[in-house]
């Protein structure tokens, strides 16, 4: 049954426009709105366009520009990761897809409004907040979130005025995920390596005056629970003029456990142990240091220092002991996870966990019934929480899009009446053509500086270049 349906859908893709019109006039065009033009949104759109020949997909995006964390999260020195943009662009230029940038859910449009205009609404607006340490003095200016720091060097509108204080010798990063490692690498990389990336000009200027020499990367648990992945660690170990120094105490008893570990964890641990072993043997003339520190839980923040509890592992959980350690910290970067915000009061949102309540991407009703709110879906970090690499988001988005197809085929949501879709009225909406103008402009501006692009940071400037 499903494969028959898929075949029909596929054949539909190749029919002429005349034929498509005939098909469409028999049943109303299925209108699907995706809120958020990041990877989850684009991958879901790709799947829907391929597998539902009688659907049209609109993507609305809060910013005037698309691609979400691929543009504003992926580190500038990882341009290869951004190749997914080519596939997203192909999806965006599909005749049955429309892009509406500069349209924010909760302010420009309401969820109820979108649901009236579309048969299905898929929320993919990601995670724009971060978890806090819940410590006193956390609001001081020398404590900033890694998320904001990433947004700063990547040119997220509104993040350009962060002014991180890089005048001190020591930066302490709390957290050991890949975001934490990205930030450490940006702080320790030779500036010349960053000048040929799309790092924003003001960030390059600030980094050129940086006095940072040591970056501490602190985690509550041990090496076997380290959250960074092996590629990111290998990159740190190869960074010119940077020495990685581990604490041998952190690794006591670890070598004996390596053989029993699953392959990914085993290879990561072996790489750490090899690096630890090398540091004892090799002298280094590097002027900068990357200092991963395990088994320390954040306790308090003071001027120039951060206090940690020494922890012990009990069943993989970090339990603080009475012992404490102080680490120098002219700047503290908090990197203990992202969370999502609730863009519209009608969304069933789990504020504690920071994501939309859902079952396999089907959003639950706002009431306590635990039943599915037919026609409303969520994918990406907004639904799963902020973990995983691009493959994780892609597979998740495909799975939710598949559920949408199946729900429509099973009449689990009403597609019998026609829906109007988004009407741009007088709002300053950026279409895909508008984005192309911004894209061309950024690439052209970047050329003069030997960069792949110079990102426009101000929304007003984006709108001007887009011609709206």
């Amino acid at each position: 049954m499903t494969s028959n349906l898929l075949n029909i859908c596929r054949r539909g893709l190749h029919t002429s426009s005349v034929r498509q019109q005939i098909i469409q006039s028999a049943t109303p065009t299925k209108r699907i709105c995706i809120v958020g033009a990041g990877p989850a949104g684009f991958y879901a759109a790709q799947y829907l366009l391929k597998n539902l020949s009688d659907c049209v997909v609109d993507i609305v995006e809060k910013l005037p520009v698309p691609f979400g964390l691929v543009r504003f999260g992926v580190a500038p020195d990882h341009p290869e990761v951004k190749n997914v943009i080519n596939t997203f662009t192909k999806t965006a230029e599909h005749p049955r897809l429309r892009f509406f940038g500069n349209v924010a859910l909760g302010t420009d449009v309401s969820l109820q409004g979108l649901r009236n205009q579309y048969h299905a609404v898929l929320l993919t607006y990601g995670s724009d907040q971060d978890r806090e340490l819940q410590l006193e003095n956390e609001q001081q200016s020398h404590v900033i979130s890694a998320r904001k720091f990433v947004a700063w060097y990547n040119g997220l509108p509104g993040a350009d005025n962060l002014e991180p204080d890089l005048s001190g010798r020591d930066v302490t990063i709390v957290g050991q995920g890949n975001v934490a490692v990205d930030v450490a690498r940006m702080l320790l990389s030779p500036l010349d390596a960053l000048r040929s990336t799309d790092t924003t000009e003001y960030a390059l200027e600030a980094l050129s005056r940086s006095q940072v020499e040591r970056v501490h990367l602190v985690g509550r648990r041990g090496p076997l629970q380290a959250a960074f992945t092996i590629k990111e660690l290998r990159e740190m170990l190869k960074l010119p003029n940077v020495q990685t120094r581990w604490r041998s105490d952190d690794f006591s008893g670890i070598a004996n456990q390596v053989e029993q570990l699953p392959r990914p964890r085993k290879r990561l641990t072996e790489l750490m142990l090899k690096s630890l072993n090398d540091q004892e043997k090799l002298s280094s003339s590097a002027s900068k240091q990357f200092l991963p520190i395990f088994l320390r839980a954040p306790k308090s923040i003071t001027e120039g220092e951060m206090e940690f509890s020494v922890t012990e592992l009990q069943q993989d959980a970090a339990v603080p002991t009475a012992a404490i350690e102080r680490l120098p910290a002219n700047l503290i970067l908090r990197s203990i996870g992202y969370k999502s915000s609730c863009a519209d009061a009608d969304i069933s949102f789990d504020a504690r966990r920071g994501h939309v309540r859902n079952r396999e991407g089907r959003v639950l009703k706002v009431d306590a019934s635990d039943s599915v709110d037919a026609g409303l879906y969520v994918a990406g970090w907004l639904g799963t929480g902020p973990t995983g690499v691009i493959l994780t988001t892609m597979s998740g988005a495909f799975a939710v899009a598949k559920n949408i197809c199946e729900d429509m085929a099973a009449n689990a949501l009403d597609t019998s009446t026609s829906k109007p879709g988004f009407e741009a009225d007088d709002k300053r909406v950026v279409t895909w053509d508008g984005w192309r103008r911004i894209n061309d402009f950024e690439i052209e501006t970047g050329k003069a500086k030997g960069k792949p692009r110079e990102k426009i940071v101000s929304i007003a400037e984006m709108l001007r270049v887009a011609g709206v």
């Binding site: 290869e80 190749n83 997914v84």
Partner: protein, 159 residues
Amino acid sequence: MLVINTCRNTARLVQRSAWIRNSFPIIGPSITSRTFSLGLALRQQDVVNVTFVRANGTKIKTSGKVGDSLLDVVVNNNVDLDGFGACEGTLTCSTCHLIFKTDDFEKLPDKPGDEELDMLDLAYELTDTSRLGCQITLSKDMDGLEVQVPSTINDARAA
């Protein structure tokens, strides 16, 4: 040899960009014909038949040329595998993960390097005979190769 490699890479790039833009009518006929004539010249002796097997057992029979990567084969033939090769062969994702039969795996001339293994470590359904398709270059003796595509790529079962 260098010249041959350059030609081959150029052909590959042309084909790759043709794939990326194949939904736009802008693409010039000259590019298409260049690819075609090169393909024709190589057709007889350099075709390598490859079969991709989906997790549900369905087989996709296709072919590439000696020197193509398995990612090229998927791209050039528009093989229907959603999300395959997201980073376009730059060793920064694991979406072109393929599982080989043990015999075929052992016959592969190059063992995976650290960077490939790093990415494979992030793949779903990792096996001892897993490789990234972008790192496997076709040779004549691979004719008839059959590789398995993990279910998470083409069936998208994982939530």
